[in-house]
């Protein structure tokens, strides 16, 4: 479980999150909100990429402020732009990057890499340079790289924003097929309809916290 208690965050003088207290337990949680509403900052607090300037974030009892590395093993993160997430020049090598960081033995790294490549249809391009992949393939590689590390939760920060319709569908299917819990920040409301819970952000606060059937129409009305 992710416990958020009285969390606030500011970048210098600019306050982006204000006194949030939430328990995140559902299998699929959506985070929506306008630009600058604080949702991406919120997402980065969940795996300790950012630590809050006030309050605490705990993942299964681990404090992101003190136990950042342990938290990042439990909570994976997929960025909006996969080009910024793919670290090594070749597809299979990048996929294995996180696994090496976990200190796994070579045969386990090879097994998990192969499994993730097959699952996301990247096996044929395993030895290809990552920069030659399509946008959708790059995002799948980013997801596969995180998934191979077997986290308990995966946070997605606007995973479909840069993609065309076909690739959006591929990513939606990939998220749908995950055994892990997922927290998805997105402007793509179609993607979120079947989720268990929706958090709507405005001005650094959660202003709606409900099922999609209630929260999404309310959010659309709010934005109109």
């Amino acid at each position: 479980m992710i416990e958020i208690r009285h969390v606030g965050h500011a970048f210098g003088e600019r306050t982006v999150l204000r006194d949030l207290s939430l328990d995140l337990t559902e299998r699929r949680i959506a985070v929506v909100g306008g630009n600058g509403s604080g949702k991406s900052t919120f997402a980065r607090l969940l795996n300790g990429l950012l630590v809050p300037t006030r309050g605490t974030v705990r993942v299964d009892g681990l404090d992101t402020r003190r136990d950042g590395r342990a938290v990042r093993r439990k909570v994976g993160f997929v960025f909006q732009n996969p080009d910024n997430q793919i670290v090594l020049p070749v597809v299979a090598e990048d996929l294995a990057f996180g696994l090496k960081n976990l200190g796994l033995p070579k045969d386990e790294i090879a097994r998990r890499t192969d499994e993730a490549l097959r699952r996301y249809g990247l096996h044929d391009v395993a030895d290809h340079p990552a920069h030659l992949l399509s946008g959708g393939q790059k995002q799948l590689l980013a997801i596969a790289g995180v998934l191979a590390m077997a986290p308990d939760v995966i946070v997605f920060d606007e995973p479909t924003t840069l993609l065309d319709l076909r690739n959006k569908r591929r990513i939606a299917q990939a998220i749908d097929g995950l055994a892990q819990r997922a927290i998805v920040v997105s402007h793509d409301l179609d993607l979120l309809e079947a989720f268990d819970r929706v958090l709507v952000f405005e001005d650094g606060r959660v202003v709606i916290d409900d099922k999609p059937a209630v929260a999404l129409p309310a959010y659309v009305a709010m934005m109109s």
Binding site: L49, G76, F79, D83, Q85, P89, V90, F97, L102
Partner: protein, 202 residues
């Protein structure tokens, strides 16, 4: 820069550390012994190794393309200053070295190359050098050269659309700003994938 070309040839199977050492040794020898016969022999041997690795002549020549202008200028300068033998030596030496370096990257996975470099730099640890950080820096360089090229092309196109195609400042400032913004995200992405330089590799 041409990426790794999968294969099972003896050149592919040769340990990455041995390839790097051979590259360093040949490079040093070519500059320590400035003889045309040696430079031509190195060039011929490199050609044979390309054949052994199953790499086409076209791809081999593509390794030289980025340096073509530099090579031409160097040859012309040497020709003017020192005669044709010196010009041939400079051309053969540089071509052999570039082709050999290209052969190493064409036949070695970057992860293996980086691991070999990390192992080779382990002796620098007592001097405060972290081989894992050096390895990651090299990996990131290899990864982001094409990304930088793509960003530069995008910015150039955008500036051209606004009639600024001849302005170097209009090109470099947005590219640098985007790369700096990108570097923050990349650092976060590396963190998010549990990278710990004190525990990684070497």
């Amino acid at each position: 820069m041409t990426p790794y070309l999968p294969g099972e040839s003896p050149v592919h199977r040769c340990p990455p550390g041995a390839k790097i050492l051979a590259l360093v040794a040949v490079g040093t020898a070519l500059f320590a012994l400035p003889r045309l016969d040696l430079a031509l022999a190195a060039l011929a041997a490199t050609g044979l190794l390309y054949g052994l690795a199953g790499i086409t002549a076209r791809l081999a020549l593509a390794q030289l393309r980025p340096l073509a202008w530099i090579l031409v200028v160097l040859v012309l300068v040497q020709l003017a200053l020192d005669g044709w033998l010196s010009a041939m030596l400079v051309a053969a030496r540089l071509a052999a070295l570039v082709l050999l370096a290209g052969l190493v990257t064409l036949t070695t996975r970057s992860a293996d190359l980086i691991e070999a470099l990390q192992n080779g730099l382990a002796w620098l640890k007592p001097l405060g050098v972290n081989p894992a950080k050096v390895g990651l820096a090299i990996a990131l360089t290899l990864r982001f050269i094409p990304v930088l090229a793509a960003i530069t092309a995008e910015v150039r196109e955008a500036q051209r659309a606004r009639g600024l195609e001849r302005s170097l400042v209009a090109l470099t400032v947005p590219v640098v700003v985007r790369m700096l913004k990108m570097s923050d995200d990349i650092a976060a992405a590396i963190d998010a994938r549990s990278y710990d330089p004190d525990q990684a590799g070497g």
